[in-house]
């Protein structure tokens, strides 16, 4: 892929997708925390 050696390809190319995946996980985690806090406010 992209005429790169396989080590270089697999070392660098996946990272943008991994970071976006981590960002999505953190977004969902914090969203759940925010919703729990809102529930506490209502109580």
């Amino acid at each position: 892929m992209f005429e790169l050696p396989s080590v270089t390809f697999w070392t660098f190319i996946p990272w943008p997708f991994l970071w976006l995946g981590l960002a999505t996980v953190m977004y969902l985690k914090f969203k759940r925390e925010d919703e729990n806090e809102e529930d506490m406010d209502e109580i």
């Binding site: 992209f2 070392t11 660098f12 990272w15 970071w19 960002a23 953190m26 914090f30």
Partner: protein
């Protein structure tokens, strides 16, 4: 005047307009001037954090590293692309809560109040003023060099125009002007970089670039650098990843973005904005540096790859966008650094040690004078002592990161982290990075200066915690409460638990008897 000059002039006028627009709001109080009254939403928080983080280095130093070392340079991009996600996830919510609970308006004031020690503030102020100003000088020099190269103006005149605009809108509009101009600059940066990338890679594909690199020198495609210069040096590679992935948590002008968020709910949106912006922006300058090896093999100054690519292959409106994007990167970092230097001088030095009873109105003006003074000093140094710009950027970045990363993270995660731990961590981290860099210990030890500084700073915090004062119950409670928002204070929760204990026991006994469970069976 040519089209690129007109576009750039309009861009500068917009920045000045934003500064003047926010000047009235900024004058209301110190909190308005220094922290935007803690009212910044997710998109602006993300963009100001990222555009302040990405300096002129991204358009000049990063591509130059790729031009010299090939794909190895991508180690730096790899960490950088996740820096904001880590920073916001680790510090975001907790620091927003703690800074408000401690009524801290500056990141250095925050450290004093969290660690309950004026010495922490003094040491923190000294380190941050020296290295933030060094960082500012580097950005000012880059601004002068970029404007000179792109417009043909004399260096001094270009410097005065670029820096004059930054100082004017920062002094007038304070923190709000800085973050909203950063927002616009962040958009220009990503548009400029993606535009140039589309043009460059439609000219020659990435696959073709790599194929030609392999024919010039196959080690350009290696993860270990040209001529395998860093082969097996994991200490250097890990340091290269860490400096831009976790290093931002130690930069006062970036950490302050957590303190100015509208609420803790701002964090989740900011993470998504920053993550998307990073993936669109950060890798491209390095890839353009690789393209430069093929397209501009005789380039004398590798730092000018992107401007040269733009002017040789796609002149006209793209050159104007590029000029604005480069200046946006430099200016968005310079204004944040300048604002932070002014904040530390006014809030952490003047108000703390010279005039504790200064009125809000006086403090706003003192802050403005300090920002202006920092800008003027920076301008004079940039005119008379232009050192190697990006060496200075990486050095200042590394020292600030090593000084403050551990104290900031420990401040919100550990109830035991105390004043001596913070002092040892700051001094140990800063000293190690300075010695490692000046004595050039990276090659003989195989350890990146940032990684060495981080290890010593962590050890300093650990050892110092055995010698310092135990944090007061109020601080311990504040750290606990920073983890999650609590409706009740710890003592009140404890009292309720004690009061409920006897009733709980009666209910448990009742249930046990009802279910015919003997004590011995349980």
């Amino acid at each position: 005047m040519k089209l690129d000059g007109v576009i750039f002039l309009v861009y500068l006028l917009v920045l000045l307009g934003i500064g003047l627009w926010f000047s009235r709001n900024a004058s209301k109080s110190s909190e308005h001037y220094l922290l935007g009254n803690r009212s910044i939403g997710p998109a602006v928080t993300a963009m100001t954090m990222q555009s302040s983080s990405m300096s002129g280095y991204m358009f000049m130093g990063g591509p130059a590293l790729a031009f010299q070392q090939g794909w190895y340079a991508l180690w730096y991009a790899l960490g950088d692309a996740g820096g904001a996600i880590i920073n916001l996830s680790v510090l975001g919510k907790r620091m927003r809560r703690m800074s408000e609970a401690l009524s801290a308006l500056s990141p250095i004031e925050y450290l004093e109040k969290r660690y309950e020690s004026p010495a922490v503030r003094v040491i923190g102020s000294v380190i941050s003023i020296i290295f933030i100003l060094a960082y500012v000088f580097a950005q000012f020099i880059a601004s002068g060099k970029a404007l000179t190269a792109l417009t043909g103006w004399p260096y001094e005149a270009a410097l005065l125009v670029g820096v004059g605009v930054i100082i004017t809108y920062t002094v007038a509009g304070g923190y709000l002007a800085v973050v909203y101009t950063d927002f616009i600059q962040g958009i220009i940066m990503v548009l400029g970089v993606t535009g140039i990338a589309i043009m460059a890679f439609s000219h020659i594909s990435l696959g073709e670039v790599n194929a030609q690199l392999a024919s010039i020198d196959p080690t350009y495609l290696s993860i270990w650098g040209k001529d395998l210069a860093y082969y097996g040096q994991w200490g250097v590679v890990i340091g290269a990843i860490l400096i831009y992935s976790v290093g931002y948590m130690g930069l006062p002008h970036i950490v302050v973005r957590h303190m100015s968020m509208k609420s803790t709910k701002t964090v989740k949106g900011a993470i998504m904005w920053a993550a998307t912006w990073n993936q669109l922006f950060i890798f491209i300058p390095y890839l353009l540096g690789l393209a430069g090896i093929v397209l501009l093999p005789n380039l004398a100054d590798p730092e000018m790859i992107i401007p040269e690519l733009a002017y040789q292959f796609f002149p006209g409106i793209f050159a104007a966008i590029l000029l604005s994007a480069i200046m946006a990167a430099i200016m968005s970092t310079s204004d944040s650094l300048l604002m932070q230097a002014g904040t530390i001088l006014s809030r952490d030095i003047y108000q703390r040690f010279i005039d504790k009873r200064a009125t809000e109105r006086r403090m706003v003006w003192i802050s403005r004078i300090c920002v202006f003074a920092g800008g003027v000093i920076g301008c004079i140094v940039a005119i008379y002592q232009p050192p190697s710009v990006f060496t200075l950027v990486i050095f200042s970045f590394g020292v600030l990161g090593n000084s403050f990363l551990v104290p900031y993270v420990a401040s919100v995660y550990s109830t035991k982290a105390n004043n001596m731990g913070a002092i040892f961590a700051m001094i140990g981290g800063a000293t190690t990075n300075i010695l490692w860099t000046t004595l050039e210990l990276e090659n003989p030890t195989g350890l990146h200066p940032f990684l060495a500084g981080l290890i010593i700073s962590f050890i300093g915090m650990w050892i110092g915690n055995y010698f310092g004062r135990t944090p007061s119950p109020q601080i311990q409670e504040a750290v606990q409460n920073a983890k999650t928002r609590k409706k009740l204070s710890n003592p009140l929760e404890k009292k309720i638990s004690q009061d409920m204990a006897s009733e709980s026991k009666v209910i448990s006994d009742f249930v046990r008897k009802k279910m015919y469970i003997n004590e011995g069976d349980v």
